[in-house]
């Protein structure tokens, strides 16, 4: 669906990434992890067509992104922002309806059909009852689900999410992840997701979703592949300079559950007591 070939990008003179290549297939969740400031958001902006690569190419359905007008890109790729600044207290429905913009003419307003699509999108994320509430009054997690609903209303085969669970508490984080899994299962969406939590990749894999993870470091992807192969203790050490354990256990239904437990930073002065076994 989406293919990046030898992509390079730099702001003015400082390079962000170089010779980056990867591919995202239908029904796949592609997680990009990496330290703060490694260029995840910049890469996503390039795929959204907001920034342009210096070198290399991005293909959407085998077509060069350069040759696709913004309106058509928005029919292929939707976006869930990291932080959404709320200015005016629009209703939840108004927000989700904005996802229909690429399907309408410049001087038109949403039709009854657009309203139906928006309603279905809200139902998919479980917020159908919130339709007429001002979205400024929602909690952080509900707000993020509204953003996902807006992306769904856009009816694109690919959704890009930039740290969709930043600032969310435990429960809301899980709600968002569960919604993502359910969407991929039901609609065959592809999702490209930047995240600060490598465990998210395991979470998707544990739930049987076709998941890839890319480690972004030193201006390129240092490793790309299945979470089980890529998220090793060694890789986490070189990516974040942390000591971590990858633990796994069998659940009741015989599925394997994998998680990363971070221990300490390499230079840490706090060490675990001798003999601590995990």
């Amino acid at each position: 669906m989406i293919e990046v070939i030898n992509g390079s990008f730099s702001y003015e003179k400082s390079g962000v990434f170089k010779n980056l290549s990867f591919q995202v297939n239908k029904g796949e969740i592609f997680c990009i992890v990496g330290p703060n400031g490694c260029g995840k958001t910049t890469l996503l902006d390039c795929i959204l067509g907001i920034l342009k690569l210096d070198e290399g190419e991005i293909l959407i359905n085998k077509k060069q992104i350069k040759e696709i007008p913004p309106r058509e890109i928005a029919k292929e790729v939707a976006y869930v922002p990291q932080i959404h600044t709320k200015t005016f207290p629009y209703t939840v429905l108004d927000i989700v309806l904005m996802g229909r913009a690429s399907h309408m003419g410049i001087f038109s307003s949403p039709s009854a059909q657009d309203r139906d699509i928006a309603g279905q999108a809200l139902e998919l994320v479980g917020l159908a009852d919130f339709m007429n509430r001002p979205y400024t009054q929602l909690s952080g997690g509900e707000g993020q689900l509204v953003m996902i609903a807006r992306a769904l209303a856009q009816k694109t085969p690919v959704i890009i999410m930039d740290e969709p669970t930043a600032h969310l508490d435990f429960k809301h984080e899980l709600t968002v992840l569960e919604t993502v899994i359910q969407l991929v299962r039901q609609t065959g969406l592809s999702i490209i997701m930047a995240t600060h939590f490598p465990n998210h990749a395991f979470y998707f894999e544990n739930n049987g979703i076709n998941t890839s993870v890319a480690l972004m470091d030193q201006m390129t992807f240092s490793a790309v592949g299945r979470p089980t192969e890529i998220l090793s203790e060694d890789n986490l050490m070189s990516l974040y300079q942390i000591n971590a354990k990858v633990v796994s256990c069998l659940l009741d239904n015989n599925t394997e559950l994998r998680q990363i437990v971070p221990l300490n930073t390499v230079n840490s002065r706090v060490t675990f007591e001798e003999g601590c076994k995990i």
Binding site: G49, I73, H84, P89, D94, A101, R150, Q154
Partner: protein, 336 residues
């Protein structure tokens, strides 16, 4: 919901018409209600009733154009204010944010200085208002994009430069003749409103209003910010450009016939938000209607209160301020 919307639209369309109608009865020249009815009727039923010419003149040549122009001016200022607030994602923005008012003010002052009369103020005010916005836009344009914050900054710079130029124009003006003319022009008034004003101010106002009404839903999307609007599939440069051009046409048209009238472009959209909510599909027409009604009412008050007219720019704030506080208390901000 659908019925409620229809009722709201009906109220929005009818209320300015009602205000225009009632302002025909108000003024220094006493005209009784039946007489006004007769005058109106005589225009419809051609030539059947004889009435003195001066009655006809008062209604058709003075009060009617003044009321309609007031409605257009108030509506233009309010609708551009609402559009700019959405575009700049800032509820404290008004129709003059990109410098159109101070530009127009300087244009008018310059025309008064050069020609020693007010006959060219219209053209000069309109052109300089447009020029000011163009300058703000060029200043705010960095790396081929126009971030909202840079546009506002450009507007602030251009406004202060033109304000300084207005002061300069006042300083060099002849203090017995030109200076009072400039000062009164800047205070804003509809006293000289005649039909020929419609050609100069009315056409750009009507064009701007029409454009903003047509594009009003897109303002919702633009208020999500550049990045999100683009990811939603909107050509932000084009859409922003259309909104800015329309709002500038409307405001410059208004300022060039009425002088500088503050307050309307900032506060009418807020009253609209309290009454109909923040969805620009409804807010834009609501601001138009509220601005129109408000300016007609304030203009009528200005004619009634004292023997000589009080300039509009003074009254809009004096009347509008307490009214805004009252609404704020009553609706408790209305989710705003």
């Amino acid at each position: 919901m659908v019925i409620r919307k229809k009722i709201i639209y009906a109220i929005l369309i009818l209320s300015p018409l009602i205000c225009i109608f009632f302002s025909l009865f108000i003024g220094r020249f006493p005209l009784s209600v039946p007489l006004v009815a007769k005058i109106l009727w005589s225009k419809l039923a051609i030539g059947s009733i004889y009435l003195p010419d001066k009655y006809d003149t008062v209604i058709w040549e003075i009060r009617m154009p003044r009321a309609i122009l007031g409605a257009l001016v108030g509506g233009s200022l309010a609708i551009s204010g609402a559009a700019f607030q959405g575009l700049f994602r800032n509820p404290l923005v008004s129709s003059g944010i990109l410098g159109v008012s101070s530009g127009a003010g300087f244009g008018a002052a310059l025309a008064i200085l050069i020609f020693n009369s007010t006959s060219y103020t219209y053209i000069f005010a309109f052109c300089f208002g447009g020029l000011a916005v163009l300058l703000s836009y060029l200043i705010g344009r960095v790396y081929n994009t126009t971030p909202a914050i840079m546009l506002v900054l450009g507007g602030v710079i251009v406004s202060s430069v033109f304000s300084a130029l207005i002061s300069f124009a006042k300083y060099v003006a002849d203090p017995y003749n030109q200076l009072p003319t400039i000062v009164f022009w800047l205070m804003g008034s509809l006293a000289s409103a005649r039909y020929h004003d419609f050609i100069i101010g009315g056409i750009p106002m009507a064009a701007g209003i029409t454009g903003l009404i047509a594009i009003r839903w897109r303002i919702n999307v633009l208020s999500m910010g550049d990045k999100e609007a683009r990811s939603l599939g909107i050509d932000t440069a084009l859409n922003k450009g259309i909104v800015i051009i329309c709002a500038t046409l409307a405001t410059a048209g208004a300022v060039c016939v009425s002088g500088i009238i503050g307050w309307v472009g900032l506060v009418m959209p807020h009253i609209g938000r309290m009454l109909v909510g923040n969805d620009n599909r409804l807010l834009i027409p609501a601001s138009l209607s509220l601005g129109a009604c408000f300016l007609i009412i304030v203009d009528n008050l200005g004619r009634l209160i004292t023997g000589s007219e009080i300039p509009l720019g003074i009254l809009t704030a004096l009347v509008g301020g307490p009214f805004f506080v009252y609404l704020l208390k009553k609706t408790k901000g209305g989710g705003w």
